[in-house]
Amino acid sequence: MSKLNSKIPEGSVDKKWTDYKNHVKLVNPANKRSIDIIVVGTGLAGSSAAASLAEMGYSVKAFCFQDSPRRAHSIAAQGGINAAKNYQNDGDSTYRLFYDTIKGGDYRAREANVHRLAEVSANIIDQCVAQGVPFARDYGGLLDNRSFGGTQVQRTFYAAGQTGQQLLLGAYSALSRQIALGKVKMYNRHEMLDVVVVGGKARGIIARNLVTGEIERHSAHAVLLCSGGYGNVFFLSTNAMGSNVTAAWKAHKRGAFFGNPCFTQIHPTCIPVSGDHQSKLTLMSESLRNDGRIWVPKKKEDAVAIQQGKKLGKDIAEDDRDYYLERRYPAFGNLVPRDVASRAAKERCDAGFGVNATGQAVFLDYAAAIERYGKIEANKHNMTNPTPEQIRAMGKDVVKEKYGNLFDMYKQITGEDPYETPMKIYPAVHYTMGGLWVDYELMTTIPGCYALGEANFSDHGANRLGASALMQGLADGYFVIPYTIGNYLADDIRTGKIPTNTPEFDAAEKAVKDQINFFVNNKGTKSVDYFHKRLGKIMWDKCGMARNEKGLKEAIQEIRQLREEFWKEVRVPGSNDEFNPELEKAGRVADFLELGELMCMDALTREESCGGHFREESQTEEGEAKRDDNRFSFVSAWEYKPDIKDEVLHKEELKFEEIKVVARSYK
């Protein structure tokens, strides 16, 4: 019998959550006051959880490493948030959202969790509107929707291209209100550096005040990790510079299993890398694929000429262009899911058809859309013989209205005008579906330690659909954890305040201090970024969009060597008792160096292709991903061992009772 108990309630999938809520243990209001909860991270999941739990009466302490809770990287989400409201009368339902999410995740997510997510999705929109989130509206004053990520219904709510920002600010305002009321004690510029486990339960954390360098002990009856994803293990990703795995990884080291670490989402429409100095990648909203056409030259010599700067995209004749997505996937064309679009771009570039100096870019072309819109406008204005210039000008205006801010951003970053010349895009690491393994109650394998939002593995399987990350973060924080945490804390009402002067806290604090002292005293010669960049390259080359056995085995060896070198050669300037960003980075990269190895191990074990995980050994003759449901219909949950190579794989079998498992096809 495996150590994993997912605690999925009995009954049919649409009754599970209702039944669960009807029977879950409660904590009475007077007792809530004397129960402390620590929330690490203040993105959508963290802010919403901290605010909701404080509203319920718990005493909450919230931590974020940024200078304000409002800065968490949820803020960068552009497209929107899904909810099964069916406001557009197009046949959407809880079931369809549930189905789409399972299918989109390539049948590697847990049915019960995903159904619950779809059930509460509608409440999220209600809650956000009540908080004053300014969603887009139509002229009647009702909420507007758009379709997103290739779904057949319009279920995505949005606030221009800044939905994540608006939702986060909504949750932040709810959190701010609780801070003002004294129900949440907020710790800005604090980084959690360890979980403290007492008597087998998570009972607190060790945190560093990033301004003074002071190491602090904080105790609580439960610890919520809402610390986001670990895409920065690739160094270059669309994550914020500070996004890191440290909180989750420290919990992993203390006994929380890590679920599906190799499931990484590569987003197809990012601005390509421009040079070695690159520090991060910028996403261009997926919505651009609605109107843009993606192509590379058909002829190698054209591609080479473009790479050498001798030709431009517009010099290539229409017949010499290869609209490879439309060619390979006629049904979905440019709107295939993210993983499919990303791999197709990589395939063309690997074959030598890339369109920038590095050969790592494809065109996203708006010329056709500009012309199409221009003609529609000409018709609208009853122009009989519009000149091509007039058509282009009118078309440009339409495109500007729809995508103006994105085009401006592209121009700002690349210096090229996307109205005149096709944009160049390339896939980049965007989201990590993997994360701490949690049960139905979002509890990790450490009792009392929960993981919410991107930090857990639960709802997206092997591939996340667009506009679902915001939904999951807020679902976990607003509508799941407030119920499920009571089931655990109900047994803690007599525990009383957790003391911090115990041996467990002593030991955890000492370990943290030892590591920090090591870093500031190590006489190394190379900066933290030096190692981070090298790790990122290994990961991207060998554990990125396509993976194979040989590469993964090499990667594991290389990462082990790199880790060894890191601990010998890393140089951290400054001291431990001041604001020291290099010291912060050193700790984070140390954890990435361990996680990277685990990701490769996980990818090596999963000898199938599913969602964002593509094993070259497992593909059809046409080069499409081939899943192996007989052998790999499970969640991998890794148990930490002091040497990463000894980590133990536990498998949680996935049972599909509601949905029939079929192969994904977008042809």
Partner: protein, 249 residues
């Protein structure tokens, strides 16, 4: 290209601080401004010097964490962008660039170019919210909002809280920031119930934090990377007057 940098160095809040000269070569025009600083820091670390501390996070112009007063302007020479979105092609070979932290009584320097903007958080805590507990909300479409108001509220809500308005205002005034939040909630029906107390409390907190007064120079609107309009300040002035006169407290 080669650049001369004059950068504010200050060890901690108590230190007096001074401008220090650096020079950096082989700067690519495709680098972002912060990537240029990354390269400089890498060089400083390799030389055994203390790297320059500056705030940054998302590097895509939305988190509001990056700051920097570059050549006398908040977020540098371009309009409508944050420092992280500023690219080196906006500068020329041989340029001298002054880089300073946001300067305001309410934004004390933590180290070098990083400042403490928690005053903004406290202003929001004073009332920048709708008191709506989780779980009690009615169906979202029960509350129609005229599109025009929704759009205006959204435009106000795009504030990223970076503090460029304060940094650039000759008075160190936070009116644009505060008014953006007051406006967003004043324009929406959800915010009406608490409108009076909200504006009174937020303005009181703003004053208590030591921000200066608005003298309508309009610099904040121009330098705001998100183009938040002065219209919001006018609206707050109105709301505040109404609330001061009508409030029973």
């Amino acid at each position: 290209m080669k650049l001369n940098l004059k950068i504010w160095r200050q060890k901690n809040r108590e230190d007096k601080g001074k401008m220090v000269d650096y020079s950096i070569d082989h700067v690519s025009p495709d680098m972002s401004f912060l990537e240029m600083l990354d390269v400089l820091n890498e060089q400083l670390i390799n030389k055994g010097d203390d790297p320059i501390a500056f705030d940054h996070d998302c590097r895509e112009g939305i988190c509001g964490m990056c700051s920097l007063f570059i050549n006398g302007r908040a977020h540098g020479p371009n309009y409508g962008v944050t420092t992280c979105q500023l690219h080196m092609r906006s500068f020329k070979d041989g340029d001298t660039i002054f880089i300073e932290p946001w300067r305001a009584q309410a934004f004390p320097v933590i180290k070098d170019l990083a400042v403490d903007r928690s005053a903004f958080d406290r202003v929001i805590q004073a009332g920048g919210y709708v008191s709506a507990n989780t779980g009690g909300a009615q169906d979202a479409n029960c509350l129609p909002v005229p599109k025009e108001n929704a759009d205006k509220a959204f435009a106000a809500a795009t504030c990223i809280g970076c503090g460029a308005c304060v940094a650039t205002c000759k008075n160190g005034s936070a009116m644009l920031f505060v008014s953006a939040k007051v406006s967003q909630l004043a324009l929406l029906p959800q915010g009406k119930a608490e409108a009076q107390q909200r504006v009174l409390n937020m303005v009181a907190q703003m004053d208590a934090e030591g921000f200066g007064n608005c003298s309508n120079t309009g610099a904040c609107e121009i330098e705001c990377p998100k183009g938040i309009s002065l219209e919001n300040i006018a609206r707050m002035n109105r709301e505040f007057m109404k609330a001061s006169i009508l409030s029973e407290k």
